[in-house]
Symmetry: none
Subunit: 209 residues, 4 copies
């Protein structure tokens, strides 16, 4: 092993994809930033798309793990489980802020390529959340609600801070990349949870949610 270019390439790629977008980033940019030869990228990832796929799957593999780690809690309580999952995800996203932001943005492009890569993970995620939501409803912990709608609202809450960082910054007086942000934003999410999902508090729905 001479240089471990692979890791350097991935790091450089994530940074550049985030700031300049996938299409706006050239393989040479990445190689230069990683102090490697452009062909090393082909060597490890076949193509630019292969590199993208690698970044995605690496991210999502760990992302899904965040949810899975909370699953055992489902037996003791759906609400606790859901909260834990959201907490895990939020912390994960904050410590992988570049990829989180990049994915959120690229998702808003109509690129089938990206969607194809991610669809498997999204299905997994959907499945886990539906399990929690349906379990909670069956047990009377949650209000009867369309789980689909709840899911999309959840996803919205989780991605918003990364696509609209200034908005969040000004409302919570804290930056998404700061460690402290997660704690603050988590409170917001829990407020929303109590207001719309949980049935214990009758909860006047808050303005936006």
């Amino acid at each position: 092993m001479r240089k471990n270019s692979k890791k350097a390439i991935v790091t450089a790629a994530i940074a550049l994809f985030n700031t300049k977008g996938y299409a706006g980033t050239s393989i040479r940019d990445i190689a230069a930033k990683a102090n490697a030869n452009p062909s090393t990228i082909s060597y490890y990832f076949d193509n630019k798309l292969g590199l993208l796929e690698y970044c995605f799957t690496d991210y999502f593999e760990r992302y899904i793990k965040q949810i899975e780690e909370s699953l055992p809690l489902l037996d003791s309580g759906a609400a606790a489980c859901l909260k834990k999952a959201l907490e895990n995800i939020l912390y994960f996203q904050c410590s992988n802020i570049q990829m989180s932001r990049f994915i959120a943005r690229e998702m808003s492009l109509d690129s089938q390529i990206v969607r194809e890569i991610m669809s498997t993970y999204f299905q997994k995620e959907k499945y886990y959340f539906q399990e929690m939501l349906e379990t909670g409803m069956k047990r009377g912990e949650f209000r009867k609600h369309s789980p689909d709608y709840a899911l999309i609202q959840l996803k919205g809450l989780l991605t918003m801070p990364f696509l609209n960082p200034h908005y969040i910054t000004e409302v919570l007086h804290v930056f998404p990349h700061e460690r402290y942000f997660a704690e603050k934003y988590l409170e917001q999410i829990e407020l929303w949870l109590e207001g719309t999902i949980l049935s214990t508090t009758v909860g006047i729905p808050s303005a936006v949610s």
Copy 2:
């Protein structure tokens, strides 16, 4: 039949910029979609960048007009004026959904090019909103607040539906491109206005804001 390539090019450009991003769209793509010759684009707009600038200025010129049309109301009431401005902008964005979405996304990239083009318009917009906010505060219509924060929150509210369409869709059960969406979302914005800006209601800060 005259060919009016210019208009066709602009329409094609906006559609493609929106779906594939600026960097991901080639001049040939645009020309092909507009049934025109690539050099026709250079003829009318000099550059790819010139075409982008044209789309932007054309959009922002009309965007700013939406605010300006509400300005006369300032004398009768800052709140009324602000509300009108927000209403105008929202309706405008909904009827120019592709550009609105494109700009919101491209803004989240660190491309100085885009920022440069837009800075003049953003300054104008900022100036008008500050006028309204400061006038309202002076007159006691609005709570004393940092106008900067308020501005960024406003912008956040206005762009969010275009970057997170699914989120909005599920919360309001309506699609951003439907005419009916504006009405619904406007109610949300007014709720927010009353909760955070206006002083009439002492306003328990709503969940999200």
Copy 3:
């Protein structure tokens, strides 16, 4: 029109394809030999393959015309018609010796690409020759024979001089690119015709044919 690069490119391509093979020829080689920019090739022919296709179709279009020009003679006599066709083809091949040689060689590679391009023309050619052969047989001008076999023998006779030029050179003491070669070789083909196809002379089949 500034340079008429198209023609220059085609000429250069044919020469290089012939001497170095398709795979062995680079687009830059061609462009250099044609005193043109490599991208001019993409401009006119899309790809390297497009250039190859152009060369092929241009060649075969004219090749087929050689056969078609002899077709009217079919009414007066199948033998005369066939002879005229062979004569035309031979003269045509000799004045397009590079392409003839290149095609003969490239055909012996197992490249589906090449085969696909040529299949339409080969079908046409086959159809015309079968017409002649079957007509001749029906009328008793030709011996009863499998037209398929006859066809392939004909093709073999026509391509052999270009794939095995030294062989021919030594046997006929003449070079395939010399104008005089066609006349000499034509005599051989006619001998073969009389020996194997025509029924008038009972003709002892010659050694090789």
Copy 4:
């Protein structure tokens, strides 16, 4: 199980060289087909060219042996010796059909590389055949003839079936890779020998030769 990559590589190389040509075959293609690592090729043969050379020399070494095995017969009769040599070569070529075809085709390209590798063997071959021919002429077994011409005709006869397989297939109703082909084609060669080389039959020159 030992991997014996070397042999696998050579086999793969021959197959690919034959179907796609030397320039059209990449070292990775070969390695992939041989289930080996590309660098193993460099390890054994230094270069792509080295691999080619190996294939060639291995082939020609055995090729020349075919001629040499017939040489002892020269004392008893030049004709018998020549016939035996041709028989040996033909059988050899048929059991190494891929290399035979590849060499025949690559020879028709103007690549000095290939020619350089082969020149030594061609000189040897030439020398042996000239020996036979001159001996035969001196002894009156053969007609007085230019040995150069005879040689090239011989080579032509020997390579033709591999460059024009369809031609041969249809004329002799047999495929070059079938064992039975050699026997049939050998008859043709002997007919030609008797017609043009041997002086016993005064020989009316056959149609083609």
